[in-house]
Amino acid sequence: MTKVRSRNSRTAVFLFAIAGGMVGLAFASVPLYQLFCQVTGSGGTPKVASGPPATVSANTITVRFDANVNPALAWTFRPGQKEITVKGGVPVEAVYLARNMSGVATVGTSIFNVTPFKAARYFSKIDCFCFTEQRLVPGEEATLGVQFFVDPEIFTDPNTRDVKTITLSYTFFSAPGDKDSEPAEPAKQARTPGGDKLKS
């Protein structure tokens, strides 16, 4: 091969590799995006904690509870309490109630989100029903618990000092690939506030 042609081939291989690398980056963006949202709390993604924090605070904040169901899932889903006033750093248990109103056993998965978005990085869940799929037989009602705390740093961070209320919102969907539940109509995705709703 002449000198120019072999240089051309090497350049081409290098450039193909760059193009291939960018495709790889595009697919890598999927886990990277999830990781980014989890680390920064971006878009209202709360944190997951293994246990209570080291510090507590006497300051309090109100946590309200919101529940939604995708219309393709024939369940009712409501919070067990409207709101709880919590102290910073003190773990609290809240419940949601879900009932299968259809004639078939169904599996549901839930997604969650916190508003205001900027408060999400200080909202940590220790245990949550959303970590697992929930299966309900016809007519069954389940009491689903979530254990969480609000990091006391929320009171000192200048960005979040003005936050008095945090809303925790869940939406239940029929689990993807669930053969038991037949959607009554084309599945419509319920949009909870924000857009970043990533399961841990």
Binding site: A12, F16, G20, M22, V23, S29, I111, G195
Partner: protein, 536 residues
């Protein structure tokens, strides 16, 4: 176009004839010609689509298009065709293929057969897109294809899937073309032609090709994810499965913003060549011009979220994207001032290419400043998805970039065909097109500021006045474009023969040293560029 009359064949095979010449072409001039023809055909199709919805939008109420899915398909098709099948093929595939080898003194592109594949992939992509429009409702998603509208639940037909495949082919065409152009420019410059002596058009194509290489694969990845979400049960963008529609927006705009620089950078290159030739002066500040294009290309990769200000970003995130977007105005401004400085003190020749180049400078600045307004996240809350955005991007793309294409056409058609365009008719074309596109797009700023959303077939009565004016502008533009096609036909069939260098002392790049029309093979002996002279 290139009539294949090579001055000296010496020992080469005969120039191919008949259909084989075109289907199997490995000649950069012939392939460039095919790209330009494809671009013109697509311009008619894409233009007719916009004419249809401008007809509908002329008056409030629904007059002609009561199938709103079809309306959305027209809007989507218009966008894709203009971006991927008109502007890019004309400037990169057409002028890039024709003049990059000529300007660097190379006999052809680095990979002539891959050049052929690039073209025919694009032709296939165009066919696929048109088929997609008529398949099971077609893709009524806008060129941005956001899920969940583009997901299987809301577009159950195969139209979106065919559209995705069309874009895959077009993307492959562009990636291969980019590899070809970069390799050619880096490795095949004539001896003595260093990077810092290349014509600015070649620089513009080099930067454009690098952007293509980095951006298109991201689109390809995103399209593949959408395809598998729609057909194979993945949930990249499906919330129920843990996915996120906003991820599509990030991926699309990470491609989409560099894409608009891919569209405008070759235009900058053409304008540099034309302004220099018709001022009979080298471009002011050659190095600044080259590095400004590199800066624009680089920064263009880190501003994508200015298309996403309304999705719920944190204020600090928005502040970053506002600042980064405003920064791009700096190297762009350097280029504008440099073109003006090139003209200052020059001997200006107001031929038609120069009219379009000067028009570009003014109209691009107009479109650019509305971009600066939109860059502000606060303003964008009011402007997002209104006709203000439509006006902005049409000024910079449909007006400025098209002006650069016309400027390049009139500048280079003599070299490509050996014939002179009809001068008087060309000026009529210039003025009617100027009037047409400004009547068409200027009122859209007012509509946007008054809150008219985009992508709608009907609107409240309050928006009727400017919509009527805008539609009249569309009909004037249509007439002007019809005149342009007549000019093309007249030039090719009965234009008088032109000299090898029809523009005189201002035309200093290598393409003007070969015959007009350029022979089938040029620079089979590399020119020696080892002379001490100022950079072009």
């Amino acid at each position: 176009m290139a009539n294949g009359e090579a001055a000296a064949h010496d020992g080469h095979d005969h120039t191919p004839t008949g259909w084989r010449r075109w289907l199997y072409s490995t000649n950069h001039k012939d392939i460039g010609t095919m790209y330009i023809v494809l671009s013109m055909v697509s311009a008619v199709v894409g233009g007719l689509m916009s004419l249809l919805f401008r007809l509908e939008l002329q008056d409030p109420g629904i007059q002609y298009i009561s199938d709103f899915q079809f309306y959305n398909v027209l809007v989507t098709g218009h966008g894709f065709i203009m971006v991927f099948f008109v502007v890019m093929p004309a400037m990169i595939g057409g002028f890039g293929n024709w003049f990059v080898p000529l300007m660097i003194g190379a006999p052809d592109m680095a990979f002539p057969r891959m050049n052929n594949i690039s073209f025919w992939l694009l032709a296939g992509a165009l066919v696929l897109l048109l088929v997609a429009a008529f398949t099971q409702g077609g893709p009524g998603t806008g060129w941005t294809v956001y899920p969940p509208l583009s997901s299987i639940d809301y577009h159950p037909g195969a139209g979106v899937d065919l559209g995705i495949l069309s874009l895959h082919l077009a993307g492959a065409s562009s990636i291969l073309g980019a590899i070809n152009l970069i390799t050619t420019i880096l490795n095949m410059r004539a001896p003595g032609l260093t990077m810092h002596r290349m014509p600015l058009f070649v620089w513009s194509i080099l930067v454009t090709a690098c952007l293509l290489l980095l951006a298109i694969p991201v689109l390809a990845g995103a399209l593949t994810m959408l395809l598998t979400d729609r057909n194979f049960g993945t949930t990249f963008f499906d919330v129920a499965g843990g996915g996120d529609p906003v991820l599509w927006q990030h991926l699309f705009w990470f491609f989409g913003h560099p894409e608009v620089y891919i569209i405008i950078l070759p235009a900058f290159g053409i304008i540099s060549q034309v302004v220099s030739t018709f001022s009979k002066k080298p471009v002011f500040g050659y190095l600044a011009m080259a590095y400004a294009m590199i800066a624009i290309g680089f920064i263009g990769f880190i501003v994508w979220a200015h298309h996403m200000y309304t999705i719920g970003f944190d204020v600090d995130t928005r502040a970053y994207f506002v600042s980064a977007t405003l920064v791009i105005a700096v190297p762009t401004g350097i280029k504008i001032f440099s073109w003006l400085a090139t003209m200052w003190g020059g001997s200006i020749d107001f031929r038609t290419p120069m009219l379009f180049a000067m028009g570009f400078i003014w109209l691009f600045v107009m479109g650019g400043v509305t971009g600066v307004a939109l860059a502000n996240a606060g303003m964008d809350i009011a402007f997002h998805d209104t006709y203000f955005v439509v006006a902005h991007f049409h000024y910079v793309m449909a007006i400025a970039a098209i002006y650069a294409m016309f400027s390049g056409f009139y500048y280079w058609i003599g070299k490509m065909s050996g014939r002179q365009y009809p001068r008087f008719l060309a000026r009529v074309h210039f003025w009617t097109f100027f009037i047409g596109v400004n009547v068409l797009f200027m009122p859209q700023h007012f509509l946007g500021m008054a809150g008219m959303p985009r992508r709608i077939p009907d609107y409240p009565d309050a928006y009727a006045g400017w919509n009527y004016v805008s539609s009249i502008g569309a009909y004037i533009t249509l007439t002007s474009t019809a005149l342009y096609f007549y000019i093309v036909w007249k030039t090719l069939t009965s234009g008088e023969k032109v000299a090898d260098n029809q523009w005189g002392e201002g035309a200093t790049t290598l393409e003007w040293t070969v015959a007009s029309p350029a022979p089938f093979h040029t620079f089979e002996d590399l020119p020696d560029m080892n002379v001490k002279e100022a950079a072009e």
